[in-house]
């Protein structure tokens, strides 16, 4: 898509919710793997992750975030015209999780609700999809719930989180600039190979292979081609950001914070160094919250720059990138928005 600008869309607030349960990448693995894990943690920068209890799901985390956000904003439930979910961890394959949440939250049946299947690039897309409807004035107030339940004990990268963001029609709002892209030739770089219609789950998919430390892996596990994702991310993101800035008539020094999707330290540090930005301008939650998929940008806003965001007008550049392959940039301003403290459940 060519770059585009949305007007009349006010960013009213955002809440992030994570499970209380912490998994340590160093301590919660077989002692024989300690040296290997220390090297891994040094390089990917992820020491701890959050993981759902068996009764927690993306939908419950996101709903907790949404309830808190409505409370902070003092929005009435019947005022919510749209509820969009951007996630790859639906409660069921069908129906859409957003519609189930509409009922659970007792929102009006006049609420527009649907799901969007995007992961790590999802947050700028979420703002664009809901923002487009709000810009037109058709939707006055809307919520978009972004995140995933993607943590497992074995995989050292992923961590669970759900977030809620509130947008409202407001002719005095500053413009939001977007640049959204897709490259499906990389669809196999990050994928769940089994469980869809092309390869439904069968009995043999439940038979694990076991490594020398007793770790089990299943044919249903996520496939991630690390080198392909790293090359994609570090080659695509810096020019996409610079392009969007130019489109917006801005330069990097006019940005208060760059919020990158939290992929891993190697990817994020390479992008930061290529852009020649100081670390304090590019906040990170990798160490404590790992890769929370589409939630990683809002989680980082809540956990790392909540106070500055509450203190006055800030211009943010948001860059999501990953599964698809897909990458998306948003340049926006926040002022007077609500940012409740991190919710831990």
């Amino acid at each position: 898509m060519a770059s585009s600008t949305l007007r009349n869309v006010a960013y009213r607030g955002m809440a992030s919710c994570v499970p209380k349960t912490v998994v340590s990448n160093l301590d919660d693995c077989p002692p024989a793997m300690r040296g290997e894990r220390e090297r891994l943690v040094r390089n990917i920068g992820i020491a701890r992750r959050r993981i759902c209890k068996p009764w927690q799901y993306f939908s419950t985390l996101a709903q907790d975030a949404a309830e808190r956000l409505l409370e902070e904003l003092a929005w009435k439930r019947e005022e919510v015209d749209a509820l969009i979910v951007v996630s790859q961890s639906p409660d069921y394959l069908i129906p859409a999780t957003s519609i189930i949440i509409q009922d659970r939250m007792k929102l009006s049946t006049a609420t527009l609700a649907f799901d969007v299947n995007l992961g790590c690039s999802g947050y700028p897309y979420a703002l664009y999809v809901l923002g487009s409807m709000i810009a037109s004035g058709a939707v006055k107030k809307g919520l978009v719930l972004v995140g995933d339940k993607c943590a497992t004990l074995n995989d050292p990268l992923f961590s669970d989180a759900g977030t809620a963001t509130a947008l409202e029609h407001d002719p005095s709002a500053p413009p939001m600039h977007f640049d959204l892209n897709s490259d499906g030739s990389g669809w196999q770089a990050i994928m769940l190979p089994v469980g869809g219609h092309r390869r439904p789950i069968e009995m043999h998919h439940h038979i694990p292979s076991v490594d020398e430390h007793g770790g089990k892996s299943y044919p249903t596990d996520l496939i991630l081609d690390g080198t392909a994702v790293l090359s994609f991310s570090t080659q695509r993101v810096p020019p996409a950001l610079l392009h969007t800035l130019e489109y917006a008539g801005l330069t990097l020094d006019k940005i208060d914070y760059l919020l990158l999707h939290q992929a891993n330290r190697m990817i994020n540090e390479t992008i930061r160094k290529k852009l020649r930005l100081e670390p304090d301008k590019v906040p990170s939650t990798l160490e404590d919250f790992g890769n929370t998929s589409g939630a990683s940008i809002p989680v980082t806003m809540t956990a790392r720059i909540r106070e500055p965001l509450l203190s006055g007008r800030k211009r943010l550049a948001l860059c999501g990138f990953g599964i698809g392959l897909s990458w998306a940039t948003c340049i926006m301003e926040t002022e007077g928005a609500v940012f409740p403290p991190l919710i831990e459940v």
């Binding site: 090297r39 390089n43 080198t227 392909a228 090359s231 080659q235 540090e269």
Partner: protein
């Protein structure tokens, strides 16, 4: 320091060996205990940031020795 010597030093830092290893141009990558996917990521980053050269995981898969990896620089070091 000649081109390949400083390259080997950068390679050593990037791969982050748990125990010191002696690296020579003809060292076989398959003999290095840490020559894994993490090492490949680190070497791709090192090429990008230190030399401004873009390489892929497939480029590295085609390398048998450290000398082969150095050749991917295409004379840029």
């Amino acid at each position: 320091m000649s081109g390949i010597e400083s390259f080997i030093e950068n390679f050593n830092t990037a791969v982050d060996f748990q125990d010191p290893v002696e690296l020579k141009p003809d060292t076989a990558l398959g003999d290095l205990p840490e020559w894994d996917s993490l090492a490949a990521l680190a070497v791709i980053v090192m090429f990008d940031l230190e030399y401004g050269v873009t390489i892929t995981g497939n480029d590295l898969k085609g390398c048998a020795s450290l000398q082969d990896v150095h050749k991917l620089l295409g004379g840029k070091a």
